[in-house]
């Protein structure tokens, strides 16, 4: 953005604008009659739900009276309305208990983002040109309806694809019902950091295609295999709260935390011990620990269901004796024995696995290995261990056991659709509906997402922003921002009790946008027939209320009670599975039968000779998977480890860098078999010499002024490798080479530190 131009405005004493816009030209705009009566200067707190990651934390929104510039029936004017000023954790919410992570708090900037789509758009120029023209909602919806109904008449209803970010709660139900009734295939949800492998492993091991809830607060020994559970994985806030107790919550008792990962993550940085095991060998380490425990009889070996899935477990895992494991994992045998003994002697001890170790061809085996280790340590469904949270008794939607698609690799599903299009299969999608998903950015090049999407005759997007994918759309039907919409969620993990979260809009819509569910319902009714019949509700909140009515019936509560209470508090719990008992409804009954799993060597794309480095993309603490790169607060908050802002970087071990003649801040080129990218180098002692790591999130081509054309996107050089059984993207299975190409621009908040380090050596 052209800051210099803005400074041109600044004048001598530099202070005239008042927050209530007094005596400023805005004041001369017309004013519209306010919709709500508020008390000036007094904050009201409204419950809401954080939708930025799957954790589903509860929010309270600080709302205060303010003047907003709005367009009403064609006229620009001011309106006095309640404006969201701050997002804070909902003190009563069982997941985040009044706390909120950096990303969650920055969610405010989605609503107020200057690059939001403010009204429906129809494509003018060529696809991808980004030239759109404003149209009315009626026309927009009509357009979509006509496209769908024509398909219906040609009974090609099957060739509608709904591509979305993973949906939660009733939104998912709505979309599923809509597509089913229309006769289209189920929605395809995509995100880069896909937990399908872990879900599948948990389904096979414990009967729940679900992420585990960690009871850190009561654990004494935590062994984390690559899980960034304090930063970006699973339910970070809940886990961080537990971590605080784990460290200092119990007088005289401080838990030990060991992190196994090739690159120190924000979570690993807090570990008492860092085990930089070879990439993809984490599962073997887990098995080796199990071997020691079994061998030395440190724990009664009660083979659980997960253990029974591991081939060779019964024999005591002979292939994973520490000495053998040392060769596989680079972890000294002595250290393995020591860890095993520590883990065994400190009850409760729990193993956690997530992130990169599961993004390998052997990911499923790794996950099951850690599950088995947990069973051996007796930390499944017991205090200080892992739990599986029950779901509230909704009729439709998030019933348990989890719908199978939850343990289907998202990339596999996406790829299937893309292949249909690329190969012009019959019933390949003619109409593509996008909702808040950006596969062009978040899928590896070999998936040819852009090519495929461009081939689709008609594309409609519900996104609030024009990103790399929605720029290809013919029609943009902008969704409300989360704070402007009815929100509901069913937290999958991070708490023990079954909880349903629901919240009404925290503020009136700023622009001429409509909530995606409402538009879908509108479309359904205009389509009429079966579709309209299966979705009888006029608006989404009616649908939510109906869902809750169902719960009320089951819970035997008076009609409307739970609905009202849930809205007032922002959440409601059925009490099923409770923190007190510390037991969830674990039963391996639901486990599908499955043959023995053999741990295999990780498969990397690219020959070691030519591509000497394993490439590790990691979720950025601030930008998550890139979906938050358009928030200036996130761009300007230093990365916890590198202190880098406003850009991306390539993390490399100083020794490797020295060998390649790379200095801090040099522009380096990272090349894989599938592409190359350039970014400044960042020398870090916290990464193994054989690995180069890079944060995901930057490198957007088209995502507003703050994210657009900044940094590089590591996904753009990833191989399209998958975990065979689930079809989840194995995003940590690519090898690269790296070389210096010139001077780079690396913006560090602690910019001056490096020089001093150099001088220390001088002395």
């Amino acid at each position: 953005m052209e800051r210099r131009d803005f400074f041109k405005i600044s004048a001598i004493t530099g202070a005239a604008a008042t927050l209530d816009a007094c005596g400023k030209p805005e004041q001369q705009l017309i004013r519209f009659i306010p919709d709500e009566d508020l008390v000036p200067g007094i904050a009201t707190w409204k419950p809401s739900v954080c939708t930025l990651c799957p954790a589903g934390c509860g929010l309270t929104v600080r709302v205060m009276q303010g003047d907003a510039e709005v367009v009403r029936n064609g006229k620009l004017g001011l309106i006095r309305m309640g404006l969201a000023k701050k997002l804070e954790g909902n003190p009563q919410h069982p997941v985040n208990r009044g706390k909120l992570c950096a990303r969650g708090q920055a969610g405010l900037q989605i609503t107020y983002n200057p690059d939001r789509v403010r009204h429906p758009l129809k494509r003018l120029g060529a696809r991808g040109s980004g030239e759109f023209q404003e149209i009315s909602w009626d026309d927009a919806v009509k357009e979509l309806v006509s496209q769908l109904s024509t398909l219906g008449q040609k009974n090609e209803a099957g060739s509608v694809a709904f591509l979305t970010r993973p949906l939660h709660g009733q939104r998912r139900t709505l979309v599923e019902v809509f597509l089913k009734a229309f006769g289209a295939p189920a929605p395809v949800s995509y995100e880069l950091f896909d937990e399908a492998v872990l879900r599948r492993a948990n389904l096979l091991s414990f009967g729940h295609a679900q992420l585990p809830t960690l009871d850190l607060a009561r654990a004494r020994y935590v062994l984390s295999f690559g899980a960034d559970f304090l930063g970006t994985w699973n339910s970070p806030v809940a886990q961080a709260i537990g971590y605080g107790e784990f460290r200092q919550g119990r007088p005289g008792l401080r838990g030990k935390f060991v992190q196994v990962e090739p690159r120190l993550s924000q979570t690993g940085a807090n570990a008492d011990e860092w085990i930089p095991a070879r990439m993809g060998s984490e599962g073997m380490l887990a098995l080796s620990l199990a071997h020691v425990i079994l061998n030395q009889k440190l724990r009664p070996s009660s083979p659980g269901h997960a253990a029974s899935l591991i081939s060779g477990w019964a024999q005591g895992l002979p292939d994973y004796a520490p000495e053998k494991a040392e060769k596989l994992t680079d972890v000294p045998a002595a250290k393995i024995v020591e860890l095993a003994q520590e883990a065994a002697s400190h009850e409760p001890a729990v193993g956690v696995v997530g992130g990169a170790p599961l993004a390998q061809a052997n990911g499923l085996a790794t996950a099951i290995a850690v599950n088995a280790l947990n069973e051996l340590l007796g930390s499944v469904d017991s205090p200080g261990g892992i739990f599986f949270t029950a779901a509230p008794p909704f009729a439709a939607g998030t019933k348990l056991p989890e719908p199978p698609e939850r343990s289907q690799g998202r990339f596999g599903a996406l790829n299937a659709v893309l292949q249909e299009i690329l190969l012009d299969r019959p019933h390949s999608p003619k109409v593509l509906l996008l909702h808040d998903v950006n596969p062009v950015f978040a899928a590896p090049p070999d998936a040819h997402v852009q090519a495929a999407v461009e081939k689709v005759p008609f594309i409609a997007s519900f996104g609030s922003f024009v990103d790399e994918t929605s720029v290809l759309a013919d029609l943009i039907l902008p969704d409300h921002s989360p704070l402007e919409s009815w929100l509901d969620d069913v937290p999958e993990s991070g708490l023990l009790a079954a909880v349903a979260t629901v919240a009404p809009p925290a503020l009136y819509a700023l622009y001429n946008t409509r909530a995606m569910p409402d538009v879908l319902l509108d479309v359904a009714h205009q389509l009429g027939g079966n579709v309209s019949a299966s979705l009888p509700w006029k608006t989404y909140d009616e649908m939510l209320q109906a869902a809750f009515a169902d719960v009320e019936k089951k819970a035997g509560a008076k009609s409307g009670d739970i609905w009202k209470k849930a809205q007032a508090d922002g959440w409601w719990s059925s009490g099923e599975g409770s923190a007190a008992s510390g037991k969830s409804r674990l039963s391996t009954s639901g486990t599908p039968s499955h043959g023995a799993v053999t741990m295999s060597e990780p498969q990397f794309d690219g020959a070691l000779e030519e591509y000497p480095f394993s490439f590790l993309p990691f979720a950025s603490t601030m930008l998550y998977d890139g979906s938050l790169a358009h928030l200036p607060w996130m761009q300007e908050t230093p990365d916890p480890l590198s202190t880098a802002m406003w850009g991306s970087w390539v993390e490399i071990n100083p020794r490797s860098a020295e060998r390649l003649g790379i200095r801090q801040g040099d522009l380096v080129e990272v090349t894989s078999q599938h592409g190359k990218l350039q970014a400044p180098a960042l020398l870090s002692p916290g990464i193994a010499p054989g690995v180069v790591a890079m944060p995901v999130g930057q490198g957007h081509g088209n995502f507003g002024r703050y994210a657009g054309h900044r940094g590089a996107n590591p996904v753009s050089i990833l191989a399209a490798a998958v975990e065979p059984e689930t079809g989840a993207l194995a995003w940590a299975a690519t090898r690269v080479k790296i070389s210096r190409v010139g001077e780079g621009k690396l913006i560090l908040f602690a910019g001056g530190m490096r020089e001093n380090a150099a001088e220390d050596e001088n002395r």
């Binding site: 400074f7 600044s10 004048a11 001598i12 004493t13 530099g14 602690a750 910019g751 001056g752 530190m753 020089e755 001093n756 150099a758 001088e759 001088n762 002395r763």
Partner: protein, 459 residues
């Protein structure tokens, strides 16, 4: 001994006669000054962000210039005052050049505390005055001390400069006609050279000479306290007071020598500003150079020996780190180059030698100020907050502008005032001021002798 006429003619020439070369230089310097003013206006409008300063390097060029020019200002007054009290006769042609430098350098240096403010238009809040806000300046702040110190020093030096000018202005008045005559008639405050007037002038000048010395010392001590009072590595030191004063006199003398050299050339004062003057000042400069080196050595040694981590960070960054080139340049400019030039009398007696030495010293002393400020600020206690600094064109323009400004002011001054104190020079040629005054009673003649009487139109 030159004749009175000769002296009058030579020394009044620049005042009464303006050459084309004067205008040329005037235009050049003037435009540079204008550029600097423009740069400041730009900064004033946009905000101080147009400078290279950042966090943690909040002070850089502006404060460097401030300290540097205040330092230069110590040339004059201090030297001429000491020489006066010591009654060193060779001082006579030198004193005024020196005093002028003081006044102008102070004016320029004194501007910088205002220029460097984030909100310069509020500088008057430093002035203690009763306001509706019912709040006064914070007298514990060294910046408030600066305000008073510099104020006093400036007033003092102006008086000290103007007192001995009065007789000369009277002389110009008598030697000229037209508007000049009118102008000098006003400014010479009706000087008639009566014994009483001479006596008062002498007394006043003695008082000022005595008074100005402690003021001068205190001023630069207080300036040094701007740094020494803050707990910043390598700032918070007791040595800073004397260190700064020494440095000030050091750079002051260098500045004076340069000024004299220029005057000598431009105003053809070869017969008045003699090698002996440069030689003597050169000796002074040599002494100060040694003293400066002693201070730097003492400062560095104690830091290094003390081995206090935060201070060592600054120490190393100047000795070996990114500031090392500047540091060693400074050592060369302030000691290694001038020392031989000045120590070897054969070179010292050549004006060129002394001038070269002085010019390196001026550069070196500016660097010294810079190296006191920036390395410390960029390496404070928490390594996480270490920083860098690069100046921008705005700061550089303003710096260059200050040198142009002092040149310009000096020129203009020489245009309106005989740059060499004529009557003192003559007095030097005759007898002691006291006797002279006594004699003047009877003959009612100023040292200028009878000619002056004839010249007076009234008589």
């Amino acid at each position: 001994m030159k004749s009175v006429d000769q002296i009058n003619h030579d020394l009044l020439r620049p005042v009464v006669h303006t050459s084309g070369r004067f205008w040329l230089v005037f235009v050049i310097l003037g435009s540079v000054v204008l550029a600097a003013v423009g740069a400041f206006a730009y900064q004033f409008w946009e905000g101080i962000g147009v400078w290279g300063i950042n966090r943690p390097v909040f002070w850089a060029f502006a404060i460097t210039n401030f300290v540097f020019w205040i330092g230069i200002s110590h040339a004059g007054t201090l030297i001429s005052a000491i020489l006066r009290l010591a009654n060193a006769t060779w001082r006579r042609p030198v004193t005024r050049c020196a005093e002028v430098i003081t006044v102008f350098a102070l004016m320029i240096g004194g501007m910088f505390p205002i220029i460097h403010l984030g909100r310069p238009w509020l500088f008057f809040w430093l002035v203690p005055y009763p306001s509706e806000r019912q709040i006064w300046p914070q007298f514990r702040s060294p910046l408030a001390w600066d305000f008073f110190a510099i104020g006093t020093y400036l007033t003092g030096s102006i008086i000290f400069l103007l007192l001995p000018i009065i007789p000369d202005w009277a002389l110009v008045r008598d030697k000229t006609s037209g508007w000049r005559h009118g102008l000098y008639r006003v400014v010479s405050l009706g000087w008639r050279g009566t014994p009483r007037q001479w006596h008062r002038l002498e007394t006043a000048m003695h008082i000022m000479a005595v008074a100005i010395i402690p003021v001068a010392v205190s001023v630069h001590t207080i300036v040094s306290w701007d740094f020494a009072m803050a707990p910043v590595p390598m700032w918070h030191s007791t040595i800073f007071g004397p260190y700064f004063v020494a440095g000030a006199i050091f750079s002051g003398i260098a500045g004076l020598i340069l000024a004299m050299a220029f005057l000598r050339k431009l105003l053809h004062l070869e017969e008045y500003l003699l090698p002996i003057h440069f030689d003597n000042l050169g000796k002074l400069l040599l002494m100060m150079s040694l003293l400066w080196f002693y201070f730097v050595f003492a400062e560095r040694l104690t830091t290094w020996y003390g081995n206090e981590p935060a201070e060592m960070a600054v120490f190393w960054v100047t000795q070996r780190g990114s500031f090392a080139p500047l540091f060693w340049t400074m050592v060369f400019c302030n000691f290694l180059i001038p020392f031989p030039l000045l120590a070897i009398s054969r070179i010292r007696r050549t004006i060129t030698g002394v001038v070269i030495a002085s010019s390196t010293v001026v550069v070196g002393m500016w660097l010294e100020r810079f190296l006191i400020i920036v390395p410390s600020l960029s390496h404070k206690y928490l390594p996480y907050t270490y920083g860098h600094y690069r100046p921008t064109w705005v700061e550089i323009t303003i710096l260059v502008g200050t040198f142009a400004a002092i040149g310009l002011l000096y020129m203009l001054f020489a245009k309106f005032v005989p740059i060499i104190s004529i009557w003192e020079l003559k007095a030097g040629g005759h007898q002691k001021p006291a006797a002279r005054a006594a004699e003047a009673v009877s003959a009612r003649t100023s040292p200028m002798g009878a000619k002056e009487l004839e010249l007076r139109p009234e008589s």
